[in-house]
Symmetry: C2
Subunit: 366 residues, 2 copies
């Protein structure tokens, strides 16, 4: 078989890009893989208990793995609302980010890239560090000084931690400068990262007995998880394995809600918004890289976008903990939205809610 070679193009202007360009050299737009591997149920490696069961559908070989993916799907009920919680916080470093990281890092290893930079509110950096360091990649990770001490500790164990004061986007700006000369292993920009996120959809499809749910609610910062689910179910649809696409519902905190504003104003691209402090610190992103695609997915799947206040997020986080589901505040944003907008959902709707990040990272030390 011919080895697979991904072709990288700009999603805005169709220009061709090099494999480690992080944005379009012509127009600055986000890049994509022009020739993704199609989903093929016959090529699932059922004996592999990780997302590498879908290895034949991923744009890289596997060289290093921490056992990411194959997370539990748990039926639960909160406040009379039934849903399936996809426990993404049981990934190796405690967040859904490991899906994207493992695909990105394995592609880097395959191309002998051993120096990268990245910026992160915490979980993406902790994930990249845990995959990069042990596999011989030196990662410089730019983090806001306001990120949690636990996440900073995790990053510093296996990468070079660079703290940047100011708003969240200040760390991004510092990283962009460094990306002029070093490969940018960006969870926000990399199409390889996004390819890894698609496996969450493949798993849900298997776990529901080879069908699609009616709706998926995710927190949205840059929207990697949201787009991973959307693209994953689109691939299953193209393969003729699901009849229709799930409604994709984006949820954001009121402190930083560009997608909700774009949705409400029926725009094609989200406006650049405020980036206020919110307890949902994993999704303080006021310029999501693939904002146009997120809004298009919402339109095309009859989806929606909801904003919630911090008090509602804290209440939802507590309700999840009382069901044995210990997650960080960001992960509780979709439940807060479901409680507030429950009348937008028919009673027998099959709802998936990924729980994105572990609540253990924020607990008090000994």
């Amino acid at each position: 078989m011919t080895p697979y070679t991904p072709q990288i193009i700009c999603i805005d202007c169709d220009a061709t890009a090099a494999i480690w360009d992080w944005r379009c050299p012509e127009c600055g737009g986000p890049l994509d893989i022009a020739n993704p591997q199609p989903f093929d149920a016959d090529r699932i490696d059922a004996g592999t208990w990780s997302l590498w069961r879908y290895g034949a559908m991923l744009p890289t070989d596997k060289r290093f793995s921490l056992g990411e993916g194959m997370t539990p799907l748990v039926q639960t009920s909160v406040d009379g609302l039934d849903f399936y919680a996809k426990l993404e916080y049981l990934n190796p470093t405690g967040s859904y980010k490991d899906r994207g990281t493992t695909v990105l890092v394995n592609r880097l290893l395959g191309e002998n890239v051993h120096d990268v930079v990245e910026d992160s509110s915490g979980n993406a950096g902790a994930s990249l560090a845990a995959y990069a360091g042990p596999s011989g990649i030196h990662a410089r990770i730019f983090v806001s000084t306001t990120a949690s001490a636990a996440k900073k500790r995790l990053i510093a164990t296996n990468a070079e931690l660079v703290e940047v004061s100011g708003v969240r986007s200040a760390a991004t700006a510092a990283c962009h400068a460094a990306a002029e000369t070093t490969v940018y292993a960006s969870h926000a920009w990399s199409p390889f990262f996004l390819a890894g996120q698609m496996t969450a959809a493949y798993e849900v499809w298997e776990q529901l007995g080879h069908r699609a749910p009616d709706a998926i609610l995710t927190p949205v910062g840059h929207g990697g998880l949201f787009l991973g689910f959307a693209r994953g179910f689109a691939a299953l649809h193209e393969a003729g394995l699901v009849e229709r696409l799930p409604r994709m519902i984006a949820t954001q905190a009121a402190g930083c809600d560009p997608i909700v504003q774009g949705y409400e104003q029926q725009l094609n691209a989200p406006p650049v918004t405020q980036e206020e402090e919110t307890i949902a610190d994993g999704i303080i992103v006021n310029q999501p890289v693939r904002g146009r695609e997120i809004l298009r997915v919402i339109r095309e799947t009859d989806g929606a976008a909801y904003r919630v206040q911090d008090a509602a997020i804290i209440a939802a986080q507590k309700m999840l903990a009382e069901r044995g589901l210990f997650v960080e505040a960001t992960s509780a944003v979709p439940l807060a939205a479901l409680r507030e907008y429950r009348h937008d959902f028919a009673a027998d709707t099959t709802i998936i809610m990924p729980l994105t990040g572990s609540g253990l990272k924020g607990l008090p030390g000994k």
Copy 2:
């Protein structure tokens, strides 16, 4: 099919006991299930992505689950030593205890038991609380005041936390008094808990391509994980699915090492030892409930028992973190032992090391 009814007997004197007796009413010895379900590969429910894939081999129906089991098996290498890490800390509450807890709690639910007591150094209590509270069981959990703040917070979320000052065994004594009048949901005593632990062996057997490893090293407090592996592989052996049993290696901290002392002195039962403080706070157990069985398993499998110092444990924990494996100190005891006694293992030995508890619980808060 006739519904399965477990028969409870004493392993020391063969007396019959009631289902929720926690020790033999005649001699005080530990209890067992006289008629366990045999392992039957044809009855594995391969579509279920949790330990309930082995539901037909477990002594209870499933009523409540958080998606426990099916943890990753990751090949890694430390200090030139190759082994497979079984990531038990990726269970729902961050420790291997969830395997036993889910079987015990589901049996309690099946028998309409809604009040229990338990004592725990932290992880077992956090696990029981997360399963009991959400499924409508009131649990009073006795914990040493010296347990970690994170674990106490987890327990208090879904159970009644009772702090007991003094040594670890003081909490046990207080719990035993309460167990006079309330069902004792004990991770140390319950044969249902132990039945759940056997699933770790079934998973390793599947993950290795339907074979047994050569050796398994575990931390040993009461030895639930150790005996779960041993009994699980014994069940696979009885079913004719593995040719021989793995060597079972018990590892303990020098501060509290009754099994190592019993092994070195070739005793049938471990002596009651000191219970000094050690960084491996999950295994400060100076009178393991099934100590005789642990020593017998070591003898019968050509196993061993090793003690290690805290400094070696801390070094091993750091080495695991540098491989992206974030575990608590107790989990690093086997690696410390493997490094120290490496010459007791042939070069091509297939070694399994379960990593028992999450390192995230001990990280600093925001």
